[in-house]
C-alpha cells in the first residue's frame, strides 16, 4: 500500500519537475533571448484563444489523472478489509493506549505480526490527535466523542515511527511511539506471555455487571433489541430511517440511547455517559460485535468504517 502511494508521488514529482523545468527554462530563455536591444521593439501579442484553451484543457486532463489515481488509493485506504485484526486505540494527552482483541494492552508501542491486516478503531479522551505512521503512509485524525478508523497491512518486520500529527498541546511532539512488526512466530510468543483476558470477554463481563443483559436478551422477549448478529447490519429506526450498525452506532447507543430509537422499542434505555471509561466502552463494543460472529476475535464484520459528517 505504501508502495502505491510512493508510485503516485513519483508520478506527480516527475510531472511537476517537468512543468517546473519548462516554466523556468522558458522564463530564463525569454529573459535572455528577448532582452532589450536597441532597434528591436517589443511585438504586441494580444493573446490566443487556442493556446488558452489548450493550456487549460491539457493540464486539467492531467489533473484528472492525479485525482483519479489518488481517489482510488484513498478508497482503499479508507476501507479496512473485513477480516482485519482489530486494535482499539484510545489517544490522550500525550500518549497512545492500545488494546488488542486478545486483551494485551500497550502504551505507545504497538506490536503486530507481519502479513495480517490491522484495523485501528480509535477515539480520543480529550482533544483531537492524529495517528500517523509515515512508513505505512497512513494518517487518521483521532476525535473525542466518536470512533475513527485506520488500517494497514505490514509487510516487513521492523520498528516504525508512530507520530501524533494533530497539534494537541504542550507535549504534542512527545506523543510518539512505534509500531513493531514481528515475524508471526515472534508475535505469537510475545502475545502468549501475559495471560490477559480477550477484549470481548472483558466486554461480556461488563455487559452483565452493568445490567445490559437484563434488557438485551438473546431472544425476542427483551425490552431492548436482540444484539446477536446485529453488528454490520442495517437497523430500522422508529422514525423510518435506516442506519448501519457500525462501531459509532454502538458507541452512540450506549452513551446517547435516545438519539436513535429502534423501531418497535421504547426509549427506556438509560445513558452510560460518564459512567464508563473509553476502555470499558471499547470492550462493550468489541463484545457486541462478537455476538453471532464466528468465534475468532481477530475477525469482525464491518460495513462502513465510521459514521461521518459531510
Amino acid at each position: 500500500m505504501a508502495n502505491n502511494v510512493d508510485a503516485l508521488y513519483i508520478f506527480l514529482l516527475v510531472v511537476s519537475a517537468m512543468m517546473t523545468a519548462l516554466i523556468f527554462t522558458m522564463v530564463v530563455f525569454f529573459a535572455v533571448r528577448y532582452r532589450k536591444r536597441p532597434g528591436q521593439p517589443a511585438e504586441q501579442i494580444d493573446g490566443s484563444h487556442a493556446l488558452e484553451i489548450t493550456w487549460s484543457v491539457i493540464p486539467f486532463c492531467v489533473f484528472m489523472v492525479f485525482f483519479g489515481w489518488g481517489a482510488a488509493l484513498y478508497f482503499r485506504e479508507r476501507r479496512p478489509p473485513q477480516t482485519s485484526a482489530e486494535v482499539y486505540t484510545v489517544a490522550k494527552q500525550w500518549m497512545w493506549k492500545f488494546e488488542h482483541m486478545e486483551g494485551q494492552r500497550e502504551i505507545n508501542e504497538l506490536h503486530v505480526p507481519v502479513g495480517r491486516d490491522v484495523k485501528m478503531i480509535m477515539t480520543s479522551q480529550d482533544v483531537i490527535h492524529s495517528f500517523y505512521v509515515p512508513a505505512f503512509r497512513i494518517k487518521q485524525d483521532v476525535l473525542p466523542g466518536r470512533y475513527t478508523v485506520a488500517w494497514f497491512h505490514p509487510t516487513k518486520p521492523g520498528t516504525y515511527h508512530l507520530f501524533c500529527a494533530e497539534y494537541c498541546g504542550t507535549m504534542h511532539s512527545g506523543m510518539i511511539g512505534s509500531v513493531v512488526v514481528m515475524e508471526p512466530k515472534d508475535y505469537e510468543a510475545w502475545m502468549g506471555g501475559g495471560g490477559s483476558q480477550p477484549l470481548a470477554v472483558t466486554g461480556e463481563k461488563l455487559f452483565a455487571e452493568l445490567g445490559c443483559v437484563t434488557c438485551h436478551r438473546s431472544d425476542t422477549q427483551g425490552r431492548g433489541p436482540n444484539l446477536v448478529g446485529l453488528f454490520g447490519k442495517p437497523v430500522l429506526l422508529e422514525d423510518g430511517r435506516s442506519v448501519a450498525a457500525d462501531e459509532n452506532y454502538l458507541r452512540e447507543s450506549i452513551l446517547q440511547p435516545t438519539a436513535k430509537i429502534v423501531n418497535g422499542f421504547k426509549p427506556i434505555m438509560p445513558t452510560f455517559q460518564g459512567q464508563i471509561s473509553d476502555e470499558q466502552l471499547n470492550a462493550l463494543v468489541a463484545y457486541v460485535k462478537s455476538l453471532g460472529q464466528p468465534a475468532n476475535p481477530a475477525a469482525g464484520r464491518n460495513l462502513a468504517t465510521a459514521t461521518t459528517q459531510p
Binding site: E77, R79, I128, Y132, I138, T308
Partner: protein, 548 residues
C-alpha cells in the same frame, strides 16, 4: 497644469501638504492611510519574522533545548496569526491597493474615505490586542484554533487572540467593501472594465472574497470565544457538540483567505511583467476571468484541509475534485505571464527580478498544491512539513516577493525617491536564494514524515540535516528582508528624486507627479486608450535609457 507650490518653494504633495500627527491620524487621504498601514504591516512582518527565527533556531537541533515546549507552541501559533492576519492579508490591498486603486481608475479617492480610515483604526485595535496577547504570555492554539483544544484545554490568552483576529477581520471586510464600490462607481470617463489594469481586477476579485468569507470566520471565532468563556458546548463533544463543525466554519473562510493573500500579488506581477517586457499582457480577458474564477472556485474547496479529519469518503472525493479545478486558472496565469515575455523587450530592474522569482516559486508552490489535492498522497503528507513548505512557497515565494516587487516598482511614486538599484537587486537575489534554501528542504522533510508543530524531534535525528539547511536559509532570507527596510528608509532622505514616470510605464498613476498631490489629478482624466498600451508609449517617446 497649475501645480501648487508651498512657501518653501517645494511642490505641494500629499506628504508635505500638512504636517503634524493629527493630520496623519485624522487623514482621509487614501495615500496617507496607505502609509499608515505600511507602518503597521512592516512592524508586524518583523514581529512575525522574529518568531520564525526563533522557531528555526530551536529546530537546529533535534532536542528541544532553546525554549520550552509551551513557548515553542506559542511561537508557531503567533508566527502564524501575526503573519496571516496582520501582514499577508492586509499588506498589498491596504498599502498598494489603497494607494493606487483610486489613481489607477482616475478618481480622487476611494468611495468611502472615512471608512478607509476606520479600517485602519480597526486594524490597529486588532493589532494592539495581538500585541497584548503576545506580551501577556502568548497563545498556543495553533493559528487554526481547533476545538476542543482551544476552548477547553489551554490556559493561555485564547480570547484576546480571538478578539484580535475578529477585529482585524472587520478591517479586511471594510477595505474589500470600499474597493468594490470604488471600482464600480468611481471610474473616470472612458475607464471601462476592459481597460482596467489587472492590478485593479485583482483587488476586485480579492475584495469579493474578503467581503463574503471573512464574516464566517468572524462568527466562528466569536463562538469559540463564547464557548471558552461561558463553557458552552457548540464545538465540544463532551457536551454534545461537534469539533468538525468548527473546522468547516473556520476553513470556509481560511481557504479563500489564501486567495485574498495571493490575488493582489498576481495583480502586481501583471503590472511589472508588462512594464519590463514593454508589452501588453498576453490574454487580458483570460487573466481577468482567471482572477474571478479563482475567487469563486476558491470558495468551493475548503474541506481539502480536512481529508483526514473524519469527513466522509464522498465529501473527500468531491473536495479533491473541485480542488483541481481551482488549479487551472492559476496555471493559466503563469502561462500568460510567461507568454507576455515572449518577443518582449526585457530589462532586469529589481521589480522584474522579483517577478521572475514569483513566477518560478509560485509555480512550484502551486504544483505542490496538486500533491495535496491528491487524496492518496495527502493522507501521508498532510500535517507534515510538506504542507508547511507548500504554503510558504506560495505565501513567501509568491506573495512576499510580489509585495516587495510592487514596493520597489511604486516606491518612486509613493515617496518621490528612487531606491538604490544595486542594493535592490542584491536583496532580491538574497531573498530568492535564502527562500529556496529555507523551504525546499521542508518538502523532503515532510515526505520523510516530520510532522509540523513539533518542538522536539530527538526521536528522529535523521531530520536534523535538512532542518539545519532550512535554518541557514532563514538567516539569509532575514538579511534579504532587512536590506529593503534599510535602503527604503535611506532613500527617503538621500535617494535620487524620482521623475513622474521612471519606468515609462502605462497606467494613470504614472501620469501624475511623484509623489502625487492630495487629490491626485488636477482635472479628472478622460481615458481613451487600452490598458498596457506599451507600443504607443514606446513609439511616442524617444528611446531614453531607463534610469538604472
Amino acid at each position: 497644469m497649475a501645480t501648487a507650490v508651498l512657501e518653501t518653494g517645494e511642490r505641494e504633495t500629499y506628504l508635505n501638504r500638512e504636517y503634524g500627527i493629527k493630520s496623519w491620524l485624522l487623514t482621509v487621504d487614501h495615500k496617507r492611510i496607505a502609509l499608515l498601514y505600511l507602518m503597521g504591516i512592516t512592524f508586524f512582518f518583523f514581529v512575525g519574522g522574529f518568531f520564525a527565527l526563533l522557531i528555526r533556531l530551536e529546530l537546529l537541533t533535534p532536542a528541544g533545548d532553546l525554549v520550552q515546549a509551551d513557548t515553542y507552541n506559542k511561537l508557531f501559533t503567533m508566527h502564524g496569526q501575526v503573519m496571516i492576519f496582520f501582514f499577508l492579508i492586509p499588506a498589498v490591498p491596504a498599502v498598494l491597493g489603497n494607494f493606487l486603486i483610486p489613481i489607477m481608475i482616475g478618481a480622487k479617492d476611494l468611495a468611502f474615505p472615512r471608512i478607509n480610515l476606520l479600517s485602519w483604526y480597526l486594524y490597529i485595535i486588532g493589532g494592539i490586542l495581538m500585541v497584548y496577547t503576545i506580551l501577556n504570555g502568548g497563545v498556543d492554539t495553533g493559528w487554526t484554533f481547533y476545538t476542543p483544544l482551544s476552548t477547553e484545554f489551554l490556559k493561555t490568552n485564547v480570547v484576546t487572540a480571538a478578539l484580535a483576529v475578529f477585529v482585524s477581520g472587520f478591517s479586511s471586510i471594510l477595505t474589500g467593501l470600499n474597493f468594490i464600490v470604488t471600482t464600480h462607481r468611481m471610474r473616470a470617463p472612458g475607464m471601462t472594465w476592459n481597460r482596467l489594469p489587472l492590478f485593479v481586477w485583482a483587488h476586485y476579485a480579492t475584495s469579493i472574497i474578503q467581503v463574503l468569507g471573512t464574516p464566517v470566520v468572524a462568527i466562528a471565532i466569536v463562538l469559540v470565544a463564547l464557548e471558552r468563556v461561558l463553557h458552552l458546548g457548540i464545538f465540544n463533544p463532551a457536551l454534545g457538540g461537534d469539533p468538525l463543525l468548527f473546522q468547516h466554519l473556520f476553513w470556509f473562510y481560511s481557504h479563500p483567505a489564501v486567495y485574498i493573500m495571493i490575488l493582489p500579488g498576481m495583480g502586481i506581477i501583471s503590472e511589472i511583467v508588462c512594464c519590463f517586457s514593454r508589452k501588453r499582457v498576453f490574454g487580458y480577458k483570460a487573466m481577468a476571468l482567471a482572477l474571478l474564477g479563482i475567487a469563486v472556485v476558491g470558495f468551493l474547496v475548503w474541506a481539502h484541509h480536512m481529508f483526514v479529519a473524519g469527513i466522509s469518503l464522498y465529501a473527500a472525493l468531491i473536495f479533491s475534485f473541485l480542488s483541481y479545478f481551482v488549479a487551472v486558472p492559476s496555471a493559466i496565469k503563469v502561462f500568460n505571464w510567461t507568454s507576455t515575455m515572449y518577443k518582449g523587450s526585457i530589462t532586469y530592474q529589481t521589480p522584474m527580478l522579483y517577478a521572475f522569482g514569483f513566477i518560478g516559486l509560485f509555480t512550484i508552490g502551486g504544483l505542490t498544491g496538486l500533491f495535496l489535492a491528491c487524496l492518496g498522497i495527502d493522507v501521508h503528507v498532510t500535517d507534515t512539513y510538506f504542507v508547511v513548505a507548500h504554503f510558504h512557497y506560495i505565501m513567501v515565494g509568491g506573495m512576499v516577493m510580489a509585495y516587495l516587487g510592487g514596493m520597489h516598482f511604486w516606491w518612486p511614486k509613493i515617496s518621490g525617491r528612487m531606491y538604490p538599484e544595486g542594493w535592490g537587486r542584491l536583496a532580491a537575489l538574497l531573498v530568492f536564494v535564502g527562500f529556496n534554501l529555507t523551504f525546499f528542504p521542508q518538502f523532503i522533510l515532510g515526505y520523510m514524515g516530520m510532522p509540523r508543530r513539533y518542538w522536539d524531534y530527538s526521536h528522529s535525528p535523521e531530520f536534523q540535516i535538512l532542518n539545519v539547511l532550512s535554518t541557514a536559509g532563514a538567516t539569509i532570507l532575514a538579511v534579504g528582508y532587512l536590506l529593503p527596510m534599510i535602503y527604503f528608509l535611506w532613500s527617503m532622505r538621500y535617494g535620487k528624486p524620482a521623475p513622474d514616470n521612471p519606468w515609462n510605464a502605462t497606467g494613470l498613476e504614472w501620469m501624475i507627479p511623484s509623489p502625487p498631490t492630495t487629490y491626485n489629478f488636477e482635472e479628472q482624466p478622460v481615458v481613451t486608450w487600452e490598458a498596457y498600451n506599451y507600443d504607443e508609449v514606446d513609439k511616442r517617446r524617444e528611446e531614453v535609457p531607463v534610469a538604472h
